[in-house]
Symmetry: C2
Subunit: 342 residues, 2 copies
Amino acid sequence: MSTSRAEVAAPTVHDVAGRAGVSHQTVSNVLNAPERVRPATRERVQRAIDELGYRPHRSARNLKARSTRTLGYLVQPIAAGAINAVLDRFLHALSDAARIQGYHILLFTRAEGQDDVAAYRELIASSAVDGFIVSETNYQDERVRFLLRREVPFAVFGRTELDEPHPWVDVDNAAGTRQAVAHLSSNGHKRIAFLGWPEGSITGDERHRGYREGLLAAGLTPHPEYEVRRPDGESEGWAACETLQALTEPPTAVVCCSDLLAAGVLRNAAARGLRVGEQCAVIGFDDTPVAAYMTPTLTSVRQPLEAVAETVIAQLIARIENPLQASGQRLLTPDLVLRTSA
Amino acid sequence: MSTSRAEVAAPTVHDVAGRAGVSHQTVSNVLNAPERVRPATRERVQRAIDELGYRPHRSARNLKARSTRTLGYLVQPIAAGAINAVLDRFLHALSDAARIQGYHILLFTRAEGQDDVAAYRELIASSAVDGFIVSETNYQDERVRFLLRREVPFAVFGRTELDEPHPWVDVDNAAGTRQAVAHLSSNGHKRIAFLGWPEGSITGDERHRGYREGLLAAGLTPHPEYEVRRPDGESEGWAACETLQALTEPPTAVVCCSDLLAAGVLRNAAARGLRVGEQCAVIGFDDTPVAAYMTPTLTSVRQPLEAVAETVIAQLIARIENPLQASGQRLLTPDLVLRTSA
DNA sequence: CGTTCAAATTTGATCGTTCAAATCCGCCGA
DNA sequence: TCGGCGGATTTGAACGATCAAATTTGAACG
């Protein structure tokens, strides 16, 4: 019976073997251990493979080899109005780095009313992936603890403060704000404020630490009233700016924990008639695509996401292929992208 | 020999069968055709499943069932400085819609020096996915032609102008610009310009058509000199604004093909001391996160990406499960998000 | 009470690959 | 000439699920 769909059955290892006049196992060897096959045979098999356009059936290989060459990545829901403008860049870099090593990225989300861990558990139980890339972690990250306990390979973009070592890559957030302060100070600024998130997020706390260190390195004394800690958000940036401007000696420059906070500061400054970039300076963090189109264009700290992705993939694959592999830990330095706001 | 890794072998259908005192096939039936199993037995098996935390081994199931319940999505490289700020929203919506139907999204990229089609071909040959979600298509899209020829299930976000029918979902781009023009006209604007991409992109051409239709609907006559077609980019927006302002009767409002072009217009207007939102109006397209943080905040057309993702997934899965399924075609209407620029 | 038939359950084969073990082949040296 | 040996190749089983066919169970009925 021929259906209307052409649906040519994909060639198998047996088809190739038949055409090349060898056994199925020899074909398998050509693919997985070519040194075991005599060059003449190898060539003959390779020709048959090319002619038939044969590719090993992924599921069959996965089943027997007990590995899927697939890495899981949990996509977090995006809060309305929030920006995760680095995700597209990160995901492309991630899949590309994975591809080069013969792996793929599998996206998954958590079901409503389910917690993140349950989503990981599901994929592990069904042997759907060989490991996970985890991002957006925090101090005692539950997912990381879970993966450690289950001894499932994973690598983290970000950090935790768990005792047990595990592979991670992070951007040196402190170095980012340190650079920002150094830049401002070299431009003559003495009254430099910090606008960051409330204590409790690793990333935010690191950026705060870098700010402090930057001041000291520049020979400036930290003033507590110059440190405003508020949640992320454009209107939070506006409000923080109000607070700072109400001081008897307002700062002349602000280092912000995100481009979003910086946007609020810029808008407030504009409303006050302050010329940012001349009278005062603002620096953001993340170099989101927004930064280049603000008025004035925003100087911002840019994360080397491509390098992060490459490193985190390399770590994870090393772990998968040799579970006893020591866990690497890498800090990558971000760059300050200079525009007109500072 | 016990290794240092705990690595408890995952339970199989036989383990469950043993514990429940039934055969392996009954366990399979409980999972895939529960109506064939007597309620009492079903319950007993279910209990064993729960106690063991059993989940079917994905690769084994895929091999025998000849389906992977996985959908491929090609991640395009992001040009430096370009924005694909809708991708994160779209990908989350996509994986979430897929999850609800028991599917996953597999990301892949094209190798350097390889064309897109080759990347699709690779996944098809290795039976790695059941179908594809294709986006960012154009008139005679090569990928779509290839997938049609190979009779591989796929669904498109966007459109092509190929003769052969295929499932697609698109945002009614013309309706978006039509709404924009209607809004401007109801605010008293008579000289409304269009700033869009050069002819040759379906999306851009549709947005242009909607602009024309909007003018006619409002009883306004189109003026060729009010239509500027330029590539995407912030500086292109700036340049286009220069052109328009050089006219003897410059327009009082501009409908833009993207938020990026609109950003350039806003910046140019600010430089000229024009008060956008009062003296003149600007509308963008896509409601990228950028829009809310421009000065003034940008009125923009927002695409219903969640609905698009849901629909495109539903179409694709329908196709996979029944290849003879007629190909659905859906146009979804975007919304105008009002802010201060218009 | 035996027969019949549908529903419930089991048995055995199979998907396409890789692993492990067996066999084959050619060459060398005694 | 033949045994031995090592590399090349083949054979057969297995991974863990589902499909198809065979078998058992149980209820209904003459």
